[in-house]
Symmetry: none
Subunit: 217 residues, 4 copies
DNA sequence: CATGAATGAGGGTTCATTCAT
DNA sequence: GATGAATGAACCCTCATTCAT
């Protein structure tokens, strides 16, 4: 899954000059650092994650970090961007809007939730980046794209499913649905793997009920 | 315990009041410190809250903090206890289990949520104390009572309303409902006060739908 | 043995006015504080002994300490003085210079050492007051009387026993003998009580050999 | 270990020296810090020695200390190790067990004491590291090797000289002899350099007498 | 570019001492 | 006098960041 972190990033800008290689190397380094940050973040949480620990995990010197990032928050921001991309492509794989109108509430919910769940489980550092009261402003800004991308997807799905509902309504609904999943995530990941389906089912029940309510509102 | 301090000093009326006054002063100080901590916590979040900042906010010296608390976590723990009590009494005012069985889903949800919402709005430091992956163990322990108390209330209400549901089911349902509210709280408090009712309504819709689903499951 | 701490201090100045009682109370307080200090010192060592701990042990408030002593060192100084007196009277009981000239080396050594050993064992706080490189100057000065008193006694004994030896020689010899005992004290007190006699015997052997050497020098 | 750091970097000569230089710099820094610690320790004693003072004395920042040592005790431990090595080699220079059996008591004593005396005079920080009741456990452990090494030497010498004595006896004798020297050290170093020989002679007399007693016991 | 030693402002906490009551 | 809350400088240590090599 850490591999994913590099996917979709370094391709597309294949120039053929000397700087290119350096550029490529730089991007690889950035990816390595970000992957290291993800690992440390997953293990320690945001506040207890030190830049030295990230550097050590990435196998480079502390000083080198600052060749690529101006400060700690910027690393987190880059990781957030990476996560946004990863989540986007995870959703891409599952999303197919062609027959959304015919989906049951349960199916709709599955389409929204399952990729999020899978992504959270596969990327344990993800949760350390969630909006929290004491997040530094820079990180808040950096985290925004993730949420925007995610919400955009869900809004798109809801719009297709409920064309009669207002944009504001769906915006709010999408946000709320996502928040519910994220709120339940710690409980899910902390639970015994065998117990997780029970919790997930409960979350889905709530969301399905909500989607149904949205239909008849 | 406090009484004991006064016992055995049978002579002199001022001997009886002096300790009480000091006692009272001590409790007032503790309350002041905790209130100051709540303010700083609300503004800065847990990790960025320094003991010096709490002391300054409370108008005392750093050393004085430690006359009343052994360390930073203990201050947070005391605040958590205070919040637990506040939340309990907020719920007490709203809770009346006598006719719960006749409640509609909407009414049930209101009973659960409204006190929580009001409490969160009134106590902006509350959110800084929520369980997070990188919380110090002492704070985790200190925060537990709040969650337990809250969940206990909600479980009690659900049990009365849905006697046919299993304890495990209701336990999970209660936890999930609370998580939803807490997850939506940042959005609510961050929103323009005029916009809040819309968001709150949406949250309640989701929960009401869930409660209804719980009834017919 | 703590009783001893009060002995020989408060008597001799028995005035009969109002201040007298207060004076007496003050001296009793001082004695209590000093005794408390001795206990804490014995348990914690000099550096780890806090004035608050002494106050608590004495059953008074920190502020009250400073009614009787200007600072921490002064308490230690007073304890040192008390110890000097105690040691003096301990020696008084054992010393009888009338027939010293006829004493064997072993007997001479016993006379010097036994009271010191007994005193050290009985007053576990004594060792915390010994001259050490990091002692505050005030305490150094305060400790001096103990050593002077002790050395004075031993010099007196040696002078009687070895009238032919120069004062400088005996001064040095006395100091050295005392140092040896003090140096061995931690080993003795730390040892299993059953093992102590073996160590003590060894110390005495060394000193006896030295005293004999002093005779034939 | 150090070698390993250089292995696997087969290209480039500067690649081979750079680590060595850095390594060397690190070891020099450690030595500087330890030397600074010795100076501060000599002047202030263990408890009053602050890490900031050591850093200042070493001409570095407080934080830099912790690049090389995990905490204050570890610095002391390193100094203790250094002292142990220094003392060992000081003894090595003076020790030659081949003809110990023929040594007079005086010569035996000289062999034991002279290196210790010289070492103490040359290393004024040494005394601050001696076992005391209130020493932090880490320092106790760190100091142990010094004493063990020293005692081992003396025991070895005594065993060669007095093969008929039991191991327990010699163990005790060695410890006592060392304690005597250490106990007399403050007096010696504090004394006017011109006066020192007199004191030293006296100490040696006592120990010689003891060694003689050991022979005829 | 890479290194990793160096920095130094704070962080939480302690404690001898003071002072209002 | 007695109290104990209050003080605040200082302690040990951390870590994001910089800089000489």
């Amino acid at each position: 899954m850490e591999d994913q972190l590099e996917t979709g990033v370094a391709d597309g800008a294949e120039e053929r000059t000397a700087p290119r290689k350096r550029q490529a190397r730089g991007e690889r380094r950035i990816a390595e650092i970000v992957a290291a940050a993800a690992r440390v973040l997953a293990a320690q949480g945001y506040e207890k994650t030190t830049t030295n620990a990230i550097a050590a995990e990435a196998g480079i010197s502390p000083g080198s970090l600052y060749q690529y990032f101006r400060n700690k928050d910027e690393i987190a921001a880059e990781l957030a961007t990476t996560y946004a991309a990863g989540l986007r492509s995870a959703h891409d794989a599952a999303f197919d809007l062609t027959d959304v109108a015919r989906l049951t509430a349960e199916e709709t919910v599955d389409r929204v939730i399952d990729p999020i769940l899978a992504f959270n489980v596969a990327n344990p550092g993800f949760k350390a980046l969630h909006a929290r009261p004491d997040m530094p402003p820079g990180l808040v800004a950096a985290t925004q794209p993730i949420h925007d991308a995610l919400r955009g997807r869900v809004i798109g799905l809801l719009e297709t499913r409920f064309p009669e509902r207002s944009s504001v309504e769906l915006h709010l609904a999408a946000q709320l649905m996502i928040q519910v999943v994220q709120a339940a995530m710690p409980t899910i990941t902390a639970a015994d793997p065998g117990e997780r389906p029970v919790i997930i089912t409960e979350v889905k029940r709530m969301l399905s009920a909500y989607v149904r309510e949205l239909a008849v509102r």
